[in-house]
């Protein structure tokens, strides 16, 4: 090709653009200067602050609680729906679940807020979980459906022929076969819920503080480098999770013939 190095160079440049801000953020989590974005000296004080802060860990606890609940809710609703609903019907109803992906999140959030204020439901953890489960279902059901439709129907028929009830078939045949898809979509919902800001901003109310809400509040009121330290820790944790996940995935695909 005429310019064989043009394309790789552009790709490297774009990767640089993707990573430079995050890199700068990490570097500045060790900055002594709290007020401006100019480098002054090395310190780990912000990490001390971070780990001794009560507010941050409260927010982490809330975020994890909401994320776990919405994962469990959306997975159980989704898997039961996929198994028990007739297949042709699922295909027709699938479009219903894409709604939460096709509509901008801010419209979803406005809708949820209006619903809760219309029915005078107090905002809090429950309303937040409802919103995140709604987001999660939009991902869980298409993923589970595509996995379920790839399954060998004869396995299910064999189970029925051998005298298993519907419940037995569900728990000992379908769930184990769907396990990879369940794990993948569960993780996706977990991360989406942890990361979600807009729905939380509208539906959490004043008493409920999740991690993104806390970060936003601090950034808005003039950030301290503690946010950088928090970001660095979160980056480490999430990249570790992605690594573990992709490792598991590679192992699984290797095990297949």
């Amino acid at each position: 090709m005429r310019n064989a190095y043009g394309l790789p160079l552009f790709v490297i440049f774009l990767y640089g653009v993707l990573y430079i801000p995050i890199f700068v953020l990490i570097v500045f989590s060790f900055n002594e200067n709290a007020l401006t974005h100019a480098w002054q000296g090395f310190t780990v004080d912000w990490y001390y602050d971070l780990f001794s802060s009560v507010e941050v860990w409260d927010a982490v606890k809330n975020s994890l609680m909401v994320a776990f609940s919405s994962v469990i809710l959306s997975l159980s609703l989704g898997s039961v729906f996929i198994f028990f609903c007739r297949k042709e019907l699922v295909k027709k109803l699938l479009i219903f679940f894409y709604g939460s992906l096709g509509i901008p999140e801010i419209v979803l959030a406005v809708g949820l807020l209006s619903l809760f204020s219309f029915c005078s439901i107090p905002l809090g953890a429950a309303t937040l979980i409802a919103g995140h489960t709604l987001l999660g279902l939009g991902y869980v059901i298409p993923i589970l459906y595509s996995r379920f439709s790839e399954l060998d129907v004869s396995l299910i028929e064999a189970s029925y022929d051998l005298g298993a009830t519907q419940r037995q078939t569900f728990f000992s045949i379908i769930l184990p076969l769907l396990a990879p898809a369940l794990v993948a979509s569960g993780m996706l919902v977990f991360i989406i819920s942890l990361d979600d800001f807009i729905i939380s901003f509208f539906c959490a109310g004043a008493s409920m503080q999740t991690l993104p809400l806390y970060i936003f509040a601090v950034i808005r009121t003039g950030a301290s480098p503690m946010i950088n330290a928090l970001s660095t820790v979160m980056l480490l944790v999430s990249s570790l999770l992605v690594l573990i996940f992709s490792f598991l995935h590679i192992k699984k695909t290797r095990m297949l013939p």
Binding site: L7, P8, F10, V11, L14, Y15, L18, Y19, I20, P21, I22, V24, L25, F28, T36, H37, L77, G78, V80, F84, C85, R86, L93, F96, F97, G99, S100, G102, I103, P104, E105, I106, V107, L108, V110, G111, L113, S114, L115, F118, T133, L134, L137, I191, D195, F197, I198, F201, I215, F216, I219, R220, I227, S231, M234, L235, S238, L241, V242, S246
Partner: protein
């Protein structure tokens, strides 16, 4: 048959109905019903106790220059972000799918998905350190001596634009990559064997085959970028109003739910029209391409 058995029998008989409805009910209750409530609120007369007293006054109030300007700005920025994302993402997806050595591929894909999993707010906030008065770019340029005064970059529409392109880039790369990866190498080789140049092969074979990915990517970027609220408020300092920021203002600050609902519905309709138009353009281009070459 006693009651217990009857209940059990009922459950077994109707299990399909009982177990498949909760998911649909959830979707109805928390997605479609709220949308209806928003429509209703946008039509309700302020402070009227009569529930069916409806009016179009809120919509009329929104047909002012200021509101239309905000919507136009959001449409333009979202469209620009989508197009720029496409221009930047296509070479990357192309390189990853068709050119890169196999052993590097998974690693590069991993690097690409990593920012995707990091918190959105953190990604946006990290740009402040790059664009600020004494941030990375200004410090570097001052050190080199290219400029004497620091550039003013935060709080401008361009900064918002740049940060949005940065954030939405993976949303564009992923669908493009998955489409480009499925292209059979034989087709490209056949085109080259028949005497087409690299550029002709790219233009006439690769791009038409990846049009479905282009369409998905454009919509995946355009729709969320239209309702963007976080980037204008962190990078723009809340000075530049976008659709997302105005909706948030109405519902959470001004507490004017009727006007906010009307504005949400109006901009939602415009969004749907724009998305359909985008989809239509992609389809027309696709069909013309196919007709030209068949």
């Amino acid at each position: 048959m006693n009651i217990k058995e009857k209940i059990k029998y009922y459950f077994v008989e109707n299990s399909a109905f009982i177990f498949s409805t909760p998911a649909i009910m959830w979707q109805m209750l928390f997605l479609y019903m709220p949308l209806l409530i928003v429509v209703y609120m946008s039509l309700k007369i302020n402070g009227s106790s009569c529930w069916y007293a409806v009016t179009l006054a809120h919509y009329k109030a929104l047909l002012a220059y200021d509101y239309l300007k905000i919507i136009t700005r959001s449409v333009c920025v979202a469209f620009g972000v989508a197009v720029l994302c496409l221009l930047c993402a296509y070479p990357v997806a192309y390189y990853l799918a068709l050119r890169v050595p196999r052993r590097w591929k998974n690693f590069l894909l991993f690097l690409l998905t990593l920012p995707f999993w990091t918190n959105f707010l953190i990604q946006v906030y990290s740009w402040v350190f790059v664009l600020d008065h004494n941030g990375l770019i200004n410090t570097l340029l001052l050190k080199i001596g290219l400029i004497k005064e620091p550039f003013h970059m935060v709080n401008t529409t361009w900064a918002i634009f740049l940060v949005m392109v940065h954030y939405y880039l993976p949303f564009m790369i992923m669908p493009l990559y998955s489409v480009l990866e499925k292209i059979q190498h034989d087709l490209l080789e056949a085109s080259m064997d028949l005497g087409a140049t690299h550029w002709q092969t790219f233009k006439n074979v690769t791009v038409p085959l990846s049009l479905s990915g282009i369409r998905t990517g454009l919509l995946l970027v355009f729709v969320p970028a239209f309702g963007e609220f976080v980037v204008p408020s962190i990078i723009g300092g809340g000075k530049h109003m976008f659709v997302g920021s105005l909706v948030t203002h109405y519902f959470l600050v001004a507490r004017d739910e009727q006007l906010g609902a009307a504005f949400t519905i109006m901009s939602g309709c415009i969004l749907i029209i724009c998305a359909l138009a985008l989809n239509w353009v992609c389809t027309v281009v696709f069909q013309r391409r196919v007709r030209e070459h068949s």
